[in-house]
């Protein structure tokens, strides 16, 4: 068993870096915040952060297979609009509504996967197009913002658990434990990494490429719809906004990169993406709390995002065989 921990540590190095970054930034935020470390502040932060974290988890799965899902934001919005119709009424009806929303998200993901696998189209253009379709459906459900959601459920999930822990964090943990960990530790999850690492080699080794991709994109859709469902609990309504969908899609990609997963696939973790998402969210709040003029906040957010994703360029200084730059 000697040397084992060395390998395991190296495997999760990027994750730990992202986590450390988050802790640092969040500490700064809390320190500068007027109210500081209180339950309402933590709950608000959690409610916003967990939404992006779950969508970032959704994005991680296809990225690991060296694909991408540009429709996650739109599935997120679609789930939100659907939930504002269905997750209402008696607890039983609301529960059924939740199941329908999740199933719809999984279906959207499955459609993405089916077109990519059976249609043999590239993920980037497929999900770009299906994103438009899913957004159209969302518009059909909610041409104008409105709707409602089961108040009891919403209050419970956006509030705090006894002990001061934001309920959303518990939801996040549950999602990680029930979706990501089983996926990652199963043969399917490992097959996904294999495809991202070397698809031709994976095929030769007998990995079922089609089935793995289908499962991956379906789960991505499911996770995106969980995010959309939670959005409904936070906003108490449904809104078909292309802007929100676009922002969540693009931020999910940034979160994945900041979390240490390479867009080329083959290695990475959704947990890193979770921290990447939390870092992104907190930076926006950080600028606000440091009394930066509102006019300059978008610029700084953009610059920080650019800097964060360019950090990897530092290792280029060490490269002495230029051929290594091109893969």
């Amino acid at each position: 068993m000697r040397g084992d921990w060395r390998f395991r540590l190296r495997e999760q190095r990027a994750c730990w870096t992202a986590a450390a970054l988050f802790v640092l930034i969040f500490a700064l935020y809390i320190a500068k915040h007027q109210t500081g470390w209180t339950v309402p502040v933590l709950t608000t932060a959690a409610n916003k952060g967990v939404l992006l974290a779950i969508v970032a988890m959704a994005q991680t799965l296809p990225v690991l297979t060296s694909g991408i899902d540009l429709s996650v934001g739109m599935v997120f919005v679609l789930a939100n609009c659907l939930a504002s119709h269905l997750v209402v009424g008696t607890p039983l009806q609301a529960a059924a509504g939740v199941l329908v929303v999740l199933a719809a998200g999984a279906l959207c993901g499955w459609i993405n996967g089916a077109i990519i696998v059976y249609g043999r189209l590239q993920p980037i253009i497929t999900t770009l197009a299906t994103g438009a379709v899913y957004f159209g459906l969302a518009l059909g459900l909610r041409p104008v913002p409105g709707g409602d959601v089961h108040a009891g459920l919403a209050d419970a999930l956006t509030g705090a658990l006894p002990g001061g822990v934001p309920a959303m964090l518990a939801v996040l943990l549950a999602v990680v434990l029930m979706v990501w960990v089983p996926y990652r530790r199963s043969a399917v999850g490992r097959a996904a990494l294999a495809i991202g690492s070397a698809e031709a080699a994976a095929y030769m080794s007998g990995v079922n490429i089609g089935r793995t991709r289908l499962v991956t994109y379906t789960l991505a859709g499911l996770l995106a719809s969980i995010g959309g469902l939670l959005l409904t609990f936070v906003t108490y309504s449904g809104e078909a906004s292309a802007a929100i969908g676009g922002v969540y899609t693009l931020n999910s990609i940034a979160a994945v990169v900041i979390g240490g997963t390479s867009l080329a696939g083959g290695a990475g973790s959704a947990i890193g993406s979770v921290f990447g998402a939390l870092v992104l969210r907190t930076i926006g709040d950080l600028l606000f709390v440091f009394d930066l003029e509102p006019l300059w906040q978008p610029l700084f957010q953009g610059l920080i995002l650019l800097a964060a994703v360019s950090l990897g360029a530092l290792r280029l200084l060490k490269v002495d065989n230029r051929l290594d730059l091109f893969k």
Binding site: I209, G246, G302, L305
Partner: protein, 322 residues
């Protein structure tokens, strides 16, 4: 399958032919709805509208050929529009014509930064251009003070966007023809064009063959930035004012037009003629959907579905066992 169909399926030209066929199909469908569809006036108007997208798609195609993608289109278009209008405000009548190259130059500068990030810092193009998009947005917000842009377009810009100075051809179309002609020549007849295809196929092999792959990449992103900004300048001239989010509606259609025109999304293959057909196809599709007064919901769904359907016809990859 018959021998002809088999040969067609394998041919390089299939995407362009198929896209052209679909374009004709769309025209026929439209003409069923309204007789105007096949009139010269209407078609010319469509080409004028297509020119804005065509400019952006030209730059997008170069980047996609390299194997990258430019997601900074939305705000670089806005940069072009806002900065050219702003220059008009700064320089008054002296800057009437200068505002145009100034706006394009601003976009080109952002494009250069894109190129540095992708080629020299080796950051994946998807994420770097995303970041640049956010930075461009931030800069425009600062520049306009958070309000809607107040500066107006110069008369020269307006003329360029709406006039018909030559043989009754709309000026934007003339601009697209000139730019497109240059792009066609660049890609198919110059060493730079060969280098672009080479880098898109294998940057390693191109580098080892003595191509300065980083400079080629930088150039393509710079051109793409300039093209996006040029479209923004024209759009501002068209509506005499710039506005925030003026570029949002062009990102997806630009990529779709390039891919539907037969350019491989992973790079290395594609012809500019295909992109032209793709742009016209997308423009016609959008026009038909608005003429039929289909609600926004239906438009989005049909839009996405048509793109998928067309790609399934001729954009499919190969099976693993081949």
């Amino acid at each position: 399958m018959t021998a002809l169909a088999l040969r067609l399926r394998r041919s390089r030209h299939l995407p362009v032919v198929a896209a052209a066929a679909c374009t004709l199909g769309l025209l026929l469908v439209g003409s069923l709805y309204s007789r105007n569809f096949l009139s010269a006036d209407y078609l010319l108007l469509q080409l004028q509208i297509a020119s804005f997208l065509g400019l952006i798609a030209t730059g997008a195609m170069l980047v996609i050929l390299l194997g990258g993608i430019d997601l900074s289109v939305p705000w670089l278009v806005t940069v072009g529009g806002v900065m050219s209008a702003a220059a008009a405000g700064w320089w008054g009548s002296a800057g009437e014509w200068l505002a145009i190259p100034f706006g394009i130059l601003c976009g080109g500068l952002f494009g250069v930064v894109n190129g540095i990030g992708v080629a020299y810092l080796r950051v994946p193009s998807m994420i770097f251009t995303l970041g640049i998009n956010a930075v461009a947005q931030g800069l425009i917000v600062v520049q306009t003070g958070g309000f809607a842009p107040q500066d107006r377009a110069t008369p020269a810009m307006h003329l360029l966007a709406t006039g018909r100075s030559l043989l009754g051809i709309p000026n934007p179309l003339l601009v697209w023809i000139v730019v497109g002609g240059c792009a066609l020549f660049l890609l198919h007849r110059t060493t730079l064009g060969r280098a672009i295809y080479g880098v898109g196929n294998s940057e390693r092999a191109a580098y080892l063959s003595g191509v300065d792959t980083r400079r080629v990449t930088l150039l393509c992103f710079a051109i793409a930035g300039a093209c996006s900004a040029a479209a923004g300048v024209l759009l501002t001239g068209y509506s005499t004012k710039a506005y925030q989010a003026m570029g949002d509606a062009y990102q997806l259609p630009a990529i779709a037009a390039v891919v539907l025109g037969g350019t491989h999304i992973l790079g290395g293959r594609g012809s500019y003629v295909g992109t032209v057909v793709g742009v016209i196809l997308i423009t016609l599709l959008q026009s038909i959907l608005s003429v039929m007064q289909i609600p926004e919901m239906g438009r989005q769904v049909i839009y996405g579905a048509v793109i998928i359907a067309m790609l399934l016809m001729y954009g499919r990859g190969r099976r693993h066992s081949q």
